[in-house]
């Protein structure tokens, strides 16, 4: 693909702190290579802002290779922008056209309050994990490899669920800002394995209870989360969580 240079306008959300009401501001960014990544474009834009004595736009980012789950932008009406199976850092400027105005917003959810500009507070996800995203074992020597047999099907499903990087795109894209795809991925990757199965019922109840308390909505099964998830976490995890949760409540 031949690289081009495009000029764009970025309509970006500016909010000085959690208490500020916030507003959109539009900046011109010129000579953006279509081969550059979206975050590189944001860096170039920020450099221009700094050079002209303005405050740069704050945004979350870390590894910039689709692993860490820090980047979190709602670009032109879509979580992580107009591409599939990628977080924002793997979005490229070739997805945009010359002269286009690109709207960039932070994740919007009661559960993810804005800290500054495009940075939101995703502590709620940590709190959900604290409630049950673990297995309780007495530490000691490392167990022998293969001492506990795990069948291939469950192992694959668990690994697929464990691919969740906790970026929050599922919440951002959901019309109800439901966190169920995240919670179901975390519940599934543990409940599918023998080590995690023991606490499955308690885990499902505890994590759902915290999720409900933290400002997330309920699931309408629209499937938008699965489509926007950078890791392709399947909606079947939500069915599994619904099942686990129902069984957990019937059992006690």
């Amino acid at each position: 693909m031949s690289e081009k240079s495009i000029n764009i306008k970025v309509k970006v959300w500016r909010q000085s702190d959690a208490k500020d009401k916030g507003r959109f501001e539009t900046y011109d960014v010129s000579n953006v290579s279509t081969g550059s990544s979206f975050l590189e474009m944001m860096d170039a834009m920020n450099e221009d802002l700094v050079n002209s004595g303005k405050e740069p736009v704050a945004f979350d980012h870390d590894c910039r290779e689709g692993i860490c789950g820090m980047c979190s932008m709602y670009i032109n009406g879509r979580a992580h922008g107009p591409d599939t199976l990628i977080p924002t850092c793997q979005l490229h400027m070739r997805k945009f056209t010359d002269g286009q105005t690109i709207t960039v917003e932070p994740w919007r959810s009661k559960g993810f309050p804005v800290i500054k500009d495009l940075i939101v507070d995703r502590t709620a996800f940590d709190k959900i994990l604290h409630a049950g995203g673990f297995i309780s074992i007495n530490t000691g020597n490392a167990p022998d490899a293969n001492a506990i047999p795990v069948n291939k099907v469950d192992s694959d499903l668990a690994m697929d669920a464990a691919a969740c990087i906790g970026c929050g795109a599922c919440v951002a894209t959901c019309k109800n800002s439901s966190a169920l795809l995240f919670v179901s991925a975390k519940v599934s990757h543990l409940a599918l394995l023998p080590q995690g199965k023991i606490e499955a019922a308690r885990r499902a109840k505890a994590m759902v209870a915290v999720m409900d308390d933290l400002g997330f909505g309920s699931c309408s099964n629209t499937g938008a989360c699965e489509m926007e998830c950078p890791k392709g976490i399947s909606l079947s995890n939500i069915a599994r969580l619904n099942r686990e949760y129902l069984v957990a409540n019937v059992v006690d």
């Binding site: 009406g77 709207t103 759902v208 309920s218 938008a224 079947s236 069915a239 619904n242 409540n249």
Partner: protein, 223 residues
């Protein structure tokens, strides 16, 4: 269990269970109504309607059905109202056309249209049979309501009612297109393989209901 009733998953469970119950009712309702088109003397439909109105199982099922509707609507409303509060600052731009289907995002509005239609539908027929004076008829020495004349009379004479019933059926079909598979998903009876099957079954079921209930007023209007 108290916690279950109040949890987000629990409330959706009740929307789904009542929804599945109502789907079974719709099939019975459609099967019975289709008799309207197979005997122009009306005897077949009148017999069926009389049997439905008098046998003890249906006497029990009638309030259960009413409760099914009420619970489905109340739980769906509770879930929706709570969900509306979960994004206090809205997006300036939202583009969901690739991420989800229109029907799945608009269930509450489709449901509201169906509810308005249901109200008119109950006034048209249910209220007349229960509280009004439906035309009587004697078939094989048994006196019963002439439900056939009640239905066919309305559909033959009033075009706006025919249009309303066709629209009601289409809205119901769209509601069911997402509702069927979604109900199974919400009670946990789905996975990657079954999702495709359930979505297909849901689409077929929705078409059967929408087309089936639309044909009846059109049949009387045209023939």
């Amino acid at each position: 269990m108290g916690r279950f009733y109040n949890s987000s998953i629990g409330k959706k469970f009740f929307v789904s269970i009542t929804g599945l119950f109502l789907m079974m009712f719709l099939l019975v309702h459609l099967a019975l109504n289709s008799l309207l088109m197979f005997d122009d003397s009306g005897e077949l439909f009148n017999h069926a309607a009389h049997w439905m109105g008098t046998n003890p199982i249906m006497k029990v099922m009638e309030p259960v059905l009413g409760l099914g509707f009420v619970l489905h609507i109340i739980y769906a409303l509770i879930v929706q109202i709570v969900n509306w509060t979960k994004r206090p600052v809205r997006y300036a731009k939202m583009d969901q056309k690739e991420a989800s289907t229109w029907t799945s995002r608009n269930m509450i509005y489709l449901g509201a249209f169906v509810l308005i239609f249901l109200g008119i539908h109950l006034v048209n027929f249910f209220a007349v049979v229960k509280f009004g004076t439906p035309p009587p008829i004697t078939i094989d020495g048994v006196e019963m309501h002439d439900s056939y004349t009640l239905v066919s009379g309305l559909f033959k004479t009033c075009v706006s009612i025919d249009v309303l019933y066709v629209l009601g059926s289409i809205f119901l079909g769209l509601h069911l297109k997402h509702g069927v598979w979604s109900s199974f998903q919400s009670i946990g009876l789905s996975n990657t393989i079954w999702r495709k099957r359930l979505e297909m079954v849901g689409s077929i079921y929705a078409i059967i209901i929408a087309v089936g209930f639309s044909i009846i007023p059109l049949y009387f209007l045209i023939f």
